[in-house]
C-alpha cells in the first residue's frame, strides 16, 4: 500500500507530488467524446483540472505503473467502449512544474491527480500525450 496522501483540515486530499509515483511512470487520461474532441483531434481542453462540488480535484488520471503492478491493463478503468485514452509520462508533467499525486478518494485505488495546470501547460500536454485508444470520432 502506498504512503497516504496529505490531507487538509477537512480531510480532503491536498495537491501533492507522491514519492511513490516515479518519474518514469505514466498516467492514463480518459478522453470523453465528443466533448474532448475538436475537428477529430483531442483538444488541449481535455487536460483540464476538475472542480466538482466546489472542491478542486486536479486532473483525474489512472496511475499506469501501479495498475501494471497489480496485473491490470492500461485501459482497465476505461470501461465505456466509446471513450479513448492517452498516456503521459510523469517525469514530463513534473518538468512543467505540475504535481502528480495519489487521489484514491475520487475514483479507485489506482486513481491519481495532476495539479497546477494552466492553459499553456494543457497545450504542452496535448502535444506530448500518446494515444492508447482512440475515442469514438477521433481521427
Amino acid at each position: 500500500m502506498p504512503s497516504a496522501p496529505p490531507r487538509d483540515a477537512q480531510g480532503r486530499i491536498e495537491p501533492h507530488d507522491h514519492a511513490e509515483i516515479h518519474d518514469d511512470c505514466h498516467v492514463i487520461r480518459h478522453i470523453i467524446p465528443p466533448h474532448d474532441l475538436h475537428e477529430g483531434r483531442v483538444s488541449s481542453g481535455a487536460y483540464s483540472e476538475s472542480t466538482a462540488f466546489g472542491v478542486r480535484c486536479g486532473m483525474s488520471v489512472d496511475i499506469e505503473c501501479w495498475m501494471t503492478s497489480d496485473c491490470l491493463g492500461s485501459l482497465h478503468y476505461v470501461t465505456d467502449p466509446s471513450h479513448g485514452a492517452t498516456r503521459l509520462r510523469v517525469g514530463f508533467l513534473r518538468s512543467l512544474g505540475l504535481k502528480v499525486g495519489w487521489d484514491p478518494d475520487n475514483g479507485h485505488q489506482h486513481h491519481g491527480a495532476v495539479w497546477d495546470i494552466t492553459t499553456s501547460f494543457r497545450k504542452k500536454m496535448q502535444k506530448a500525450a500518446v494515444t492508447v485508444r482512440r475515442a469514438a470520432g477521433e481521427l
Binding site: 483540464s48 476538475s50 472542480t51 466538482a52
Partner: protein
C-alpha cells in the same frame, strides 16, 4: 400682380380676424413619396448556427461529474457570456469555434488553422484569458481580454480566424 394688388392679396380668404384665421384651411400640399432601397435581408453569419447548437448541447451537462472524471457541471452563465462575446468579436465570415467543456465548469473556445491555434478560456462571466500559438515558430502569445474592452481580442480573432 401689381404692388397694390399684392398688398391686398389674401392667401387665406376670410382670415381677417383670429377666429376666422383659425377656421381657414390650407391648401393641401403633395410631397413625392421617397424612394427607398430594397429591404435589407438579415442573414445569420455562418458560424452562428453550429455555435448555438454546440452551446445548447453543452447546456445539458448540468450535473457535477458528468464525465466520470470529476468535472463540474457546465455553467449556464458561462455559455450565455460566451455567446455574447462571440457575437461581438466574430467576423461575419469567421470560422465557428470548437467549444470544449473544462473541468471547472467553464469552457474553452478554440480555432485551428494550418499555422496557428487560438484558444480562449472562459472561467466565469467577464473572465477571459487565452493563448495564440504560432505553430511555425512555437511562440505563444498570451491574451488577456477585458470583457469591457474587447478591441484587442477582436483584433486577434479577426486576424487569425477569418474564413479564407
Amino acid at each position: 400682380m401689381s404692388y397694390g394688388e399684392a398688398l391686398r392679396f389674401d392667401p387665406w380668404p376670410g382670415s381677417e380676424s383670429v377666429a376666422q384665421f383659425a377656421e381657414a384651411v390650407a391648401a393641401g400640399v403633395s410631397i413625392a413619396r421617397p424612394q427607398v432601397s430594397a429591404p435589407t435581408v438579415d442573414r445569420e453569419a455562418p458560424w452562428m448556427k453550429p455555435t448555438r447548437d454546440k452551446l445548447d448541447h453543452l447546456a445539458k451537462l448540468r450535473d457535477d461529474n458528468w464525465d466520470g472524471r470529476g468535472s463540474a457541471a457546465v455553467r449556464s452563465d458561462v455559455l450565455k457570456f460566451a455567446w455574447t462575446i462571440l457575437s461581438q468579436i466574430m467576423p461575419y465570415n469567421g470560422v465557428a469555434p470548437g467549444i470544449i467543456p473544462l473541468g471547472h465548469g467553464g469552457i474553452q473556445l478554440e480555432w485551428t488553422a494550418p499555422d496557428k491555434e487560438l484558444e480562449l478560456e472562459i472561467t466565469r462571466p467577464h473572465e477571459i484569458s487565452g493563448v495564440l500559438f504560432n505553430l511555425q515558430n512555437n511562440i505563444e502569445q498570451e491574451i488577456h481580454a477585458d470583457a469591457g474592452h474587447l478591441d484587442a481580442l477582436t483584433a486577434v480573432v479577426w486576424l487569425n480566424i477569418r474564413r479564407i
